[in-house]
Amino acid sequence: MAEEMNHAHPGFIGTYIFSRDHKMIGKQYLFTGLFWALAGGFLAYGIRQHLAAPHSPTLGHGVMSPDFYNTVVTMHGTIMVFWVAMPILIGAFGNFLIPLMLGADDMAFPTLNMLSFWTFFLSSVVLLASFFVPGGAAASGWTAYPTLSVQQGVHPINWGQVLWLLAVALEFVSMLLGGVNYITTPLQMRAPGMGLFEMPIFVWMQMAASLIFMLSVGPLVGGAVLMLFDLLFGTGVYVPEKGGDPLLWQHLFWFFGHPEVYVLLLPALGIIGEIIPVFSRKPLFGYKPIIWSTIAAGILGFIVWAHHQFISGLDPKAASVFSITTIIISVPFSIVIFSMIATLWKGSIQFTTAMLFAVGMIAEFIIGGTTGIINGSAAADVYVHDTYYIVGHFHYTLFPTVFYGTFAGLYYWWPKMFGRHLDERLGKIHFWGTTVFFNMTFIPMLLLGLAGHQRRIADPTIFPLLRNVQYLHVIATYGLYGMLAYQLPFCWAFCKGLVGKKDAERNPWRAATLEWLAPSPPGHGNFDKQPEVVAGPYEYSKPEEKEDFIPQWKPQEAL
C-alpha cells in the first residue's frame, strides 16, 4: 500500500468525490449521515404528529393510514440506527480522528476506505429508492420480524422489504470494510513511542466497536440472504407452514442487534472520554479499567441477545440465563460511566458547549441505563415488553449516545475539521433547548408504557383504555416540536462554521492528544513532520509541571 499514498495532486474528483483521504471520507460520512438525520427527524415528526392527532393531516401527507404509519415507524428506526448513528459516530468521527490521534498520515487501506464510503452511498440510494416502489417502503418494523416481513402484500413481491434488506446488507458491507481499517490502523500505524496503552480512549472505543460489529453482524447477513430467498423465490425458511421457523430470524437479528447497541455506545463514550478530561483539566479517571471493562462488556454483549425475546416463546430456563447476563453487563458499563463522573471530581470544569453535551450525555444515558435493568429482568419485562416504556427506554439510551455524542464531538473537533469554531452562544442555546425538550418528549413515553400502552398502535384513540392517557402523547408531541425547533440554532451555527476565514488555532482547547499538533484543518498527509510520542494522552494539571498539560508529542521546531 505504501507506495500509493503520495499522489501529489488528486484533482477535484480525487479530492472531493472519490477521495482516499481519511479526512475527506470522514466528512463525506458526516454530511451523508446528517442528511439522513434530517430525513429520520422528519419521520419522527410524522409519527408524533399522527399519534397526538390521528385524524388530522400530517404535513406533507394528509391523514396517515395505519399501513403508512407502519412504514414511517419502520423507516424512522432503520434510518436512525443504520444511516445516522453508524455513519456519523463510526464513519465520520472514526475516519477523521483515528489516523490523526495515532500520528499517522492516513488509514491503513485508503482505497478500501473509499470503497467503504461508496458502498454506504449506494446503500443510501437503495434505501431512498425503496420509498418509491410499488407497495411502498418496508413496513414490518426496523427489526423486520417474520412472518410479517415475508408476507406477500397486494403485490406479488414485497419490493419495499426486498430493497430494505439489500440496503441494510450493503450498509453492513460498507461498515465491515471500514472496520478492517479501524482495527488495522491502530494496531499497525501508531507514531513512534505510542504503545497500545498510550492510545487515546477514543481509538480504543472505535477499535472495540468495530470488532464487536464485525463479530456479530455476520449471522444477520446470512439470515438476510435467506430472507431474500423467502421474498423472491417463495422459500419458507421463516414460514412455519412451509417448514421454517420465524424465531430463527429473531435470534439472528438480536445476536447482531444487541451488540449493535454497544457498537453505537462505545464511540460516543470515546468522544466524551476525550472531551471530559480536557475541560476538567484532569487525567481521565481509570483509563485501563475503562478499557478492560469495555472488553468485558464487549464479550458479555454476545450472550445477552435473547432478552429481546422474553415474550417470544423463549424457554423460561433460557430466560433466566439471559436475565442474569443482562444484569451483569450493567457492571462494566457502570465502571465506565463512574470513571467519567470521577474524572469531573474536583476538576477545573469549563462548561463549553462540547462539555455540556458530554456531561448531558452521561446524565441522560444513566436514565436509559437504569430503565434498562427493569427490561433485563425477565419477570418485570413481561409487563413492560412491547409498550411505550421500551420506546422511552431505548430512546434514553440511543438519543444521548447518538445525538449528544455527535454534538459534543462536532463542537469539540469542528476547529480541527473545518478550521473555524462553532458559535458557542448558539451552541449553548442548542444544548439547553434540546435537553429540556428531549425529556419532555420521552418521559411521557415511559409513563405511557407503564400505563399499558402497546408500542405499535397506529391509532390509540380507538382503545377506551388509552383515552385517559392520550394527553401524554400530546405532551410528547409538543416536546418533539420543541426539540426540532432547537436544532435551528445548531443549523445556523453549522452553516456559519462552514464559511468565512479559517481562524482556528492548532490547539484551541489546550488538549494533549496528537490531533491537536496538526494544522487546523490538516492537509494531505496530516502532520508537518511525523510526531514522536513522549507522554500519555491525558497528562493534565501535574503539580510539578509549569504548564497545566503535557502534550503527547515531542516539541517540534516551527516550520
Partner: protein
Amino acid sequence: MSAHPVPIAHPMHELKYESISPSMGRVGMWAFLASEIVTFGGVVCSYLLLRLCHPEWIQHSSKTLLPIGAINTVVLLTSSLTMVLAHHSAELKNVAATKKWLACTLLLGLLFLCFKGYEYTHEIENGYLPNTAVFWAFYFAMTGLHGLHVLAGLVTMAYLLIAIKEDYRLTAVAPVGLYWHFVDLVWIFLFPLLYVTTQGA
C-alpha cells in the same frame, strides 16, 4: 490538495510506525476473516438447528450429488496446496513461480465452479429448486454464498497474475492465500453437512 497547500514534509516511505509483528495486509485480512467466520458460522448453525429438528429433510438431502461433491472437495483442497506453493514462491521473491502456482490455483477454482454449475443444472432440471423445501433453500443459499466467495477469490487472483512484478504486490499473495484457505475451510464444513450426513437414508 490544492485547497490546503500544506507540504508533505516526509514522504510515506520515511515514516516509521509502532506496529505488531504480522504485516498490514495480514492483520487486515484476519479482521475481515473474523467477520466471514461468523457469517458462515451463523448460517451453518441455523441449518444445523433446523436440520436436527427435521429428520425428514433426509429425503431431500439424499438427492445431492455426492460423487461430484467429493471430487470438488479434492479439487478445492488441491487448490489450497498450490496456493501454499504460490505463497512460498512469493516469500522467495520468485515472480515466475508465484505466477505459475497462482495460475494453477485459479484453474482449480474455475474447475470447482464448473462442477458446481453442473450440479446446479442437474438439480434444477430435476425440480429441486430453492422453494422445493427448506433444505434446498439452505443448500442454494450456503453453496451460493460460498460460490460467490470462490468467484471473488478468482477475480483477485486474476488481478494478481497481471499485476505482480518484482517489487509490486508480491506481499499481497499472503493475505489472498489466507482468504483462499478460509474459502476452502468453509467447503470442508459444507460438504459433510449438505452431502455426506444424508446418505444411507
